[in-house]
């Protein structure tokens, strides 16, 4: 397969950056998007040119570092799939594919397709600690959690913090991310003591760096962890709960 790639090249955080066009003529349908970039980089190195910088680690949708915009859409054409699991078979022979970093004012571009997602870490840091007894391992039945609750907490804990929700949002909102973290912790009894304080701190930090939610719903379409749209409602729910109760729990 022959693909024309228009790739965002930016030498460092302070440079302006621009698109450059490359042709990969030996792409195959079973290649992932990242393998396509590997192939392009082989080509560039052979030509003595600077390879395209992009992030990748696990390449199995767990680490959350590989997000890039493909034709303006975070991760790529296939819904709820990370960049590392997007395949060249989504494109037709001769297609023109635009690759650029995840776009949001909160994610400054460091180099080429690599962005700084520290703004998401700051939301997590604002959440602070969870007070648990760190002594001997507790008895399995000492804190009872029913199966449905445990599954729900795990579903929301599946968020890998890739930042695609922010880049998908026309408002640059991190509501899906923050809502997933808040719901995951709020559903479990071990973290109740900090529930209110955590909601206030995380939502304040989120609003500092990210935009407001206008219910576009685009975040849930691209989320590789399949976080449901109800996470965005959890932001308002947890924040209002803290306000109405007026105390830390």
């Amino acid at each position: 397969m022959r693909l024309t790639l228009e790739v965002w090249r930016q030498p460092d955080a302070t440079s302006a950056g621009a698109f450059e066009t490359y042709v990969v003529s030996d792409a195959t349908a079973e290649m992932t998007l990242l393998e396509l970039l590997d192939r392009l980089n082989d080509q560039l190195v052979e030509e003595g040119r600077e390879p395209v910088a992009f992030e990748s680690d696990c390449r199995e949708g767990i680490c959350g570092c590989c997000g890039v915009n493909v034709d303006g859409r975070p991760h790529g054409p296939q819904a709820n799939t990370p960049s590392c699991e997007q395949h060249v078979r989504s494109f037709a022979d001769g297609d023109h594919v635009v690759l650029e970093p995840l776009r949001s004012a909160a994610f400054p571009v460091l180099k080429d397709l690599v962005v700084d997602r520290s703004a998401l870490d700051r939301v997590i840091q604002a959440g602070g600690h969870v007070a648990v007894d760190a002594g001997t391992a507790p008895d399995a039945d000492s804190t009872r959690i029913d199966h449905a609750t445990a599954e729900m907490a795990l579903d929301f804990a599946a968020c890998i913090g890739c930042g695609a929700c922010v880049a998908a949002c026309p408002n640059g909102s991190a509501s899906l991310f923050t809502g997933a973290k808040l719901t995951h912790l709020a559903s479990l009894p071990q973290t109740r003591a900090e529930r209110g304080r955590r909601a206030v701190a995380m939502v304040d930090q989120m609003e500092h760096d990210f935009g407001p939610c206008s219910t576009y719903g685009e975040c849930a379409v691209v989320c590789p962890a399949g976080i449901p749209l109800s996470a965005i409602a959890a932001v308002g729910k947890e924040r209002m709960r803290a306000f109405l109760r007026g105390r830390a729990t």
Partner: protein, 212 residues
């Protein structure tokens, strides 16, 4: 945004229910209009006070809603940065993207509508405007094709704005449960459709001569 929006939606629905009295004849509608102006909540508040309390609340809700919308859009632009999201398709994203545009059309319509039907200020109102005769004023207003067309446009825009707005209310006010969200989405759609169909009945009835 969600709270003021809900107040405005409740008004739009009550306003529609009241206006459908136009199909019961001039006495019913004019009597209803008189009751709103003079007798509602009396003697809890003195005669004629309700309408002014009501107008103050509506104006406050409208101003707060517009201000919140402008602040929201500005925050969104700053947070998104110079590279806009592209390639969005579908009705939901069209509705969400156009909220500021549909809202502006609605604001202009509300100003026109108040000048036309409430204050009777010309040239928004017809020369036949008589204070208190709601039925005759509505009929003569809709007999102008341009006004009827603007009204139909505004109702279409209102439906788009209101359906997305109500769905946003469901999310902003923290409805996370599956059934509650499904109910909220259904209510948003049904209220949007009712407002569309109900409001369109009135100019259609006037233009076809059913109401004259």
């Amino acid at each position: 945004m969600a709270v003021t929006g809900t107040v405005l939606v409740v008004f739009a629905v009550v306003h529609l229910v009241g206006n459908l009295k136009i199909f019961l004849g001039p006495e019913q509608l004019d009597g209803y209009a008189h009751w709103l102006h003079e007798d509602l909540l009396a003697p809890l508040v003195p005669h004629g006070w309700f309408i002014w309390i009501f107008r103050a609340v509506m104006l406050a809700a409208l101003l707060a809603h517009v201000a919140a919308g402008v602040v929201l859009r500005r925050r969104a632009r700053v947070a998104r940065g110079p590279h806009r999201r592209q390639g969005l398709r579908g009705l939901r994203s069209f509705q969400a993207r156009s909220m500021l545009v549909t809202g502006t059309v609605l604001l202009l319509f509300v100003v026109f509508h108040v000048l036309d039907i409430t204050t009777g200020t010309r040239p928004a109102a017809t020369d036949a405007f008589v204070p208190g005769e709601a039925y005759a004023n509505i009929v003569s207003s809709f007999q102008r094709p341009a006004v009827a067309a603007f009204y139909v446009l505004a109702i279409g825009v209102l439906t788009l704005h209101l359906a997305h707005g109500l769905w946003s209310v469901v999310n902003d006010l923290g409805a996370t449960g599956r059934r509650l969200r499904a109910t909220g989405a259904a209510v948003a759609g049904v209220v949007g459709l009712l407002v569309l169909v109900g409001n369109l009945l009135i100019p259609v009835a006037v233009l076809t001569g059913v109401v004259a």
